[in-house]
Symmetry: none
Subunit: 195 residues, 4 copies
DNA sequence: TATGAATGAGCATTCATTCAT
DNA sequence: TATGAATGAATGCTCATTCAT
C-alpha cells in the first residue's frame, strides 16, 4: 500500500470515528483499530490527533466544495442546478453536520491554516451561489434588483434547516426540491405591487 | 448570597467558560476562578461538570424560548413581530451558536431529560412560528396555500444563516430586518402567473 | 448537655460509624449526623478525625481491660473466672474485632501515645491472666511447671479463634465454656507418663 | 520481561506497599516507584487499585494454603507435621497479619469472588487440620473423643497468638515448637481421672 | 457555643505520544 | 517501516478542616 493510500485509509477511519464519537471521545486506538493498523503507525503519517482531525476536515470541506462546484458548473438551467444542489446537500448533510459541529465546537483545535481554508471555501461557495443567482437573473427567473447576499443566505438557510429537519426527524418519502425552489423564488406573501 | 443566586453565579460563569473553550477544554477550576469561588464550592451546588453543562443549557434554551414566545405573543402586526423576532435572534445568536454547537457536538453529554426539553422547546417554537404564519394569513400578508413547514424552515434558515453570517463576518451597521421579511414574503423570483 | 457528655456522644457515634465503615470510609459528616449535631461542633471537641478515632479506641481498650480485670478480680474460682472471662470476650468480640482491625490495619493512625496505652493494657491484661494461672496453680488445677506465656497465648488464642469462628459463622445455641476450659487444662492428647 | 512477570512484579511491589502503608495510604505512584515503572504501566495490567489489592491478596491466601497443605500432606508423623506447620506459620505470620488486617478492615474492598476464595481456603484449611487430627488419633497421640472444632481452634489460636506475640514483641532465640505441641496435647491442667 | 458553607490539597485514572525492537 | 508497551501530564472529584455568622 502506498504512503498516500495509507494516509487516506487513516483519514477515512478517523472520519468515521470522529463522526461517531466526536473529537474528544475518539481515541487514537479506535482509529488505529478501525484502520486495522497499529497505533504507532498513525504517527508515521500524522504528527498529532489534531492534525488528523484537521486533515480529515480540510479534505471533506474541499471535497464538498468541489462536488457542489461541479454541480453548479454544469450546463444546466438555474432550476435544475438548484434542485441538484439541494439534492446533493441532502445527501451529505449527515456527515457535514457532524463535521461542522466538531469544527465549530472546537474552535481551539482548528489551526489558522485550516480556518483560512474553510473561509476560502465558504467565500468561493458563496461566489458560486452568486453566479447561480446571476444565471437566474439572465434566465429572467430571478429579479435583477434583489439583495444577493440575502438570497444566498436564504438558499443556504432553507437547505440547512429544511433538509436538516428532514434528516433529524427521520422523515420518509421524497423531498420536493421544486417546492423549495418555488418558495425561494415566489416567497410566501400575497402578490403586491410594490416591494 | 442565597443558594439560588450562588447556583446562578456558577451557571453564568460556566456558560461563559463553555462558550469560550467548549465543554472538554473548560476546566472546573476555570469556572470556579471565573465565579471567584473555590473548586469545591461548585460541587456543593452541582454533582458533576456534566450537570452544570446540562443546567446551563436547559436554562438557556428555555429562557430563549420564553423570550421569543413573548415577542411572538405581543399584540402587534405580523411584520412587526417578525422584525422583532429577527432582532432578538440576532442578539442571542452568539450564545446560541456556541451552546447549540456544544449540544450537538457532544450528544453523549446530554441526558435523555435534556434532550426531551430541547425537543419540546423546538416543537413549541415551531408551533409559535406556525401561529405567526396563521396571523400573516389572516392579515392577508401571507398566502393561504403555502407549505407552512417550508415557511418555518425559511424563517429559521434565513435568520440563522443571514444573521449568523453577519455575526461571523463581524459586519457593521444596521441590519435591515424589513428586507429580510420582504425576501421571505416576495421571494427572489420574477413575478409569475402560476406557482 | 455538659462538655463531657457531648464528647461521649461524639465518641459513641464515631465508634458506631468506624465499626460500620472503617476509618477511611467513615466521614465526619456521618459521625455528626449520627450524633445529631453539626460537623463544625465536632471540631469544638476534637482536633481531628484521627483524634476521635484514637480516643474512641483508647476508651474502648481501657474499658475492655477494666471490665475483664473486674471479672478476673472477683472472689471466685479459677474455672468460674475463666468461664466468665470467655463469656465476656464473646460478648464484646464483634466490636473488638472491628476496632482491632482498624487499629492494626492503620498503624499510621495510631500515635505513639495510643500505642503506649495499648501496649500497657496488653501487658496488664497478660499479667492478670498470669495471676489467674497462679490462682489455678494454687487451686491445684493447673500444673506448676507449665510455660505461663504459652498458657496465656492458649487462653487468648482459643478464645479469639473459637469464639471468633462462632461469631463469624453466626453459629447458634449456647457455647460450652466448660469444654473450652477443659480443652486448655487437659489438652487433646492421650494421657502420657512424661511430658 | 513477559506479561506474567510484569504482573508479578507489580503484585509484589503492591504487596510490599500495602503491607507497609495499608490500602488507603498506598498510592499508585508508590507502587509504581517500588516496581521501578511508570504509573500508567500499572493500568496496562490491572484495571484499578482495588483489582491489584484483590489479586495480591488472592494470590497470597491461595499460595499460603498450598504451602501449608504441602506440609500437612507429607508422609511424616503427627508431631513432625504440626511442628513444621507452626514453623511455616511463624515464617509467614508478618505478611499474613498485614494482609488479613487489610482484608478484614476493608470488607468493602473485597469482591464477592475474593470472599468466596477466602472462605473456601479457610474451609479447606480447617479440613486439612481435621485430617491432621485424625492422623493424630490413628497414631494414638490424640484422644478419639475430643471436640475437633475446638482442637482446630486451639491449633490456630495458639499459633496465631503465641507466634504473633513472638513476632510482635520481637523476641529472639529459637521457638520451642515441641512445647507448643505438648501444650496442646497435654493441656495445662493437673492430671485428672475424669473430664 | 454551634453551625454548615466554603475551601483546596490530594489522588485514581485516562490516553496521546514516544521509542526500542 | 510497523508496532504496541510504556509513559506521565493532566483533571474531575472528595472530604477533612476552617471560620464567619
Amino acid at each position: 500500500m502506498s504512503d498516500v493510500d495509507k494516509r487516506e485509509l487513516i483519514i477515512q477511519s478517523a472520519l468515521a470515528v470522529f463522526i461517531e464519537k466526536g473529537f474528544y471521545n475518539a481515541k487514537i486506538s479506535d482509529i488505529a483499530e478501525k484502520a486495522g493498523i497499529g497505533k504507532g503507525t498513525i504517527y508515521e503519517y500524522f504528527a498529532s490527533k489534531k492534525e488528523i482531525f484537521e486533515e480529515a476536515f480540510t479534505g471533506t470541506i474541499v471535497n464538498n466544495y468541489e462536488k457542489s462546484r461541479e454541480i453548479l458548473n454544469k450546463k444546466t438551467s438555474f432550476r435544475e442546478k438548484l434542485a441538484n444542489y439541494f439534492e446533493y446537500k441532502y445527501n451529505c448533510i449527515t456527515i457535514q453536520r457532524s463535521l461542522a459541529e466538531n469544527f465549530l465546537a472546537h474552535g481551539e483545535l482548528i489551526s489558522r491554516n485550516i480556518k483560512k481554508i474553510f473561509f476560502e471555501q465558504t467565500i468561493k461557495h458563496n461566489e458560486d451561489l452568486r453566479q447561480l443567482i446571476n444565471q437566474g437573473i439572465d434566465e429572467k427567473i430571478v429579479r435583477a434588483n434583489i439583495d444577493k447576499d440575502m438570497m444566498v443566505s436564504c438558499i443556504l438557510g432553507i437547505s440547512n434547516t429544511y433538509l436538516g429537519t428532514w434528516v433529524f426527524m427521520k422523515k420518509e418519502g421524497a423531498i420536493d426540491y421544486n417546492k423549495m425552489i418555488d418558495s425561494i423564488l415566489d416567497g410566501f406573501g400575497e402578490k403586491r405591487e410594490e416591494n
